[in-house]
């Protein structure tokens, strides 16, 4: 690899790298183009532009209810993961739990086991316990797959914390909980926002677990797109995808503006 004398990337590296950046954006651009294209398959140049697919999708109760379901699920599981994950990470961080390392490994395990395996395991489990197709079951499944992200970011944020700061609060008269709420929590909030955002997106993105657990009446948006693609390409899917692309972009930029999000990935 060529590099300047001081280790800066040379022209060849820069060009290769920028080509890779373009490669990363290509399918995104294609989806957006398809959403505005009049034909059901894409051509360059597009044969005509239309907003019809957006109108179709936004008027389609199937899509709207799937979107609503996805958002409820993502919000619920993120909130639960944050509460459960932060409390557990805090106890682990303060080394007030025997076997902290083993416990941390268990908390991270859902990241290691393939999602499809978690999916089929829960499918059988919920079939046996009668939770199959229930919202609670689905919510808990999403907590399981999102909580490692929260635990990880909480542990990382806590590791960067000066322990003395919390001790100072204690000596100044704060109870343990007050010290956490008034000092520790505000200081780890940026990291938690990043972890929470990852959890949210993981939930919103999930197919391999969700697809085994949903009932006919409560599908999520990615599962709906996944199944409709099996039927063939539909520009409506492109329109829905474009909405998701724009929403993701906005959230990412906001998170970057407010918290310097790129530091947490």
């Amino acid at each position: 690899m060529s590099a300047d004398r001081d280790g800066r990337p040379g022209h060849a590296v820069t060009i290769a790298a920028l080509a890779v950046v373009v490669f990363l954006q290509v399918p995104v651009l294609v989806v957006v183009l398809a959403a505005f294209s009049t034909t059901s398959y894409l051509t360059i140049p597009p044969q005509g532009l239309t907003l019809a697919w957006f109108g179709k999708v936004l008027g389609d109760p199937t899509y709207l209810s799937a979107l609503r379901m996805s958002l409820i699920l993502a919000c619920g599981s993120t909130a639960l993961s944050l509460i459960l994950g932060v409390t557990a990470a805090y106890a682990l961080f303060r080394r007030s739990v025997p076997g902290a390392e083993a416990i941390t490994a268990v908390l991270m395990a859902p990241l290691v086991v393939p999602a499809v395996v978690v999916g089929v395991a829960l499918l059988q489990y919920f079939s046996l316990t009668g939770l199959r197709g229930s919202f609670v079951g689905l919510l808990m499944a999403h907590v399981v797959i999102t909580v490692p992200y929260v635990v990880r970011s909480a542990l990382a944020s806590l590791a960067g914390l000066d322990l003395a700061v919390e001790e100072a609060a204690r000596v100044l008269g704060a109870t343990g909980f007050e010290a956490f709420r008034l000092v520790t929590l505000p200081l780890i909030t940026p990291g938690l926002v990043a972890g929470g955002l990852f959890a949210f997106i993981t939930s919103l993105d999930n197919v391999p677990v969700t697809i085994f657990l949903i009932s006919a009446s409560q599908t999520t948006l990615p599962v709906l797109i996944f199944s409709s693609v099996e039927m063939g390409i539909d520009p409506g899917v492109a329109a829905v995808s474009t909405i998701l692309i724009v929403a993701t972009g906005i959230v990412l930029l906001l998170a970057e503006r407010r918290f310097g999000f790129h530091r947490f990935v």
Partner: protein, 283 residues
Amino acid sequence: MIRRRHGLLLVAPLGLVLAGFFIAPVLMLVPTSFGEYVPGAGIAKGVWTLENYARIITDDYYREVIWRTLGLGLAVTAACLVLGYPLAYLIARGPERWRVPLILLVIFPMMLNLVVRSFGWIALLANRGLVNNLLMQLGVIATPLKLMFNMTGLMIGLTHIYLPFMVLMLVAAIRNVPRDVEAAAATLGSTRIHVFASVTLPLSAPGILAGSILVFVLTVSALVTPRMLGGPTYKVMATLIYDEYMQLLDWPSGSALSFALTAITLAIIWLSGRVARRWAGQP
């Protein structure tokens, strides 16, 4: 001081949730994998067999799928490394003002819905997709290239999906390489390429390993992209498990395959941990 009792109380809620909704379900899958599938009736009661596991090793079709999955994992990992390293190097060592925009451009597709990204590749790679359309318009080809429902499609799609993970791991690794050591090598008379090969690359090896393991494990476990770009016939392990459960309703076979897939990922992670420890000079 918070006391142990309080610590356990804080960990307990999450522990219970994971025990109830992760550990118990996975453990309860174990007996299923030793059960016997009776078509139309489900699992035979009181019959225990190793047949489901034996078939994974002996059955030609299963073997082919497993080898394909592992090969795909290796190929995607290699592709991500080759494509990811220059980009990571540019982010880590390039102009300061490019850093954040570049990182955001890497994160953006990563945060985007997997289904949406796979759909984008379908629009590009299908027989009537953008690539074939363009090539035919230009007269390069007469009939569409087969870019989907085969290794090519899965390679392209999965490389795109997991490349951001690799880049982020490599950026961290390259930034950890001390510039002083590189400068020292240069003052000792090394050429630029030699400095890179003898200092930068070995010192970023732990990050390369970590990124490779991550991409490999994610690739062999992937369901959505292989299903969307591979279709119902060109299968990998995850899509095979999906079909055993959803189409064939053969839960015993599906669960045995699930454990085989889990074993593969755990073995890879365990092995990489040993390699990393050896590099770090620990026993």
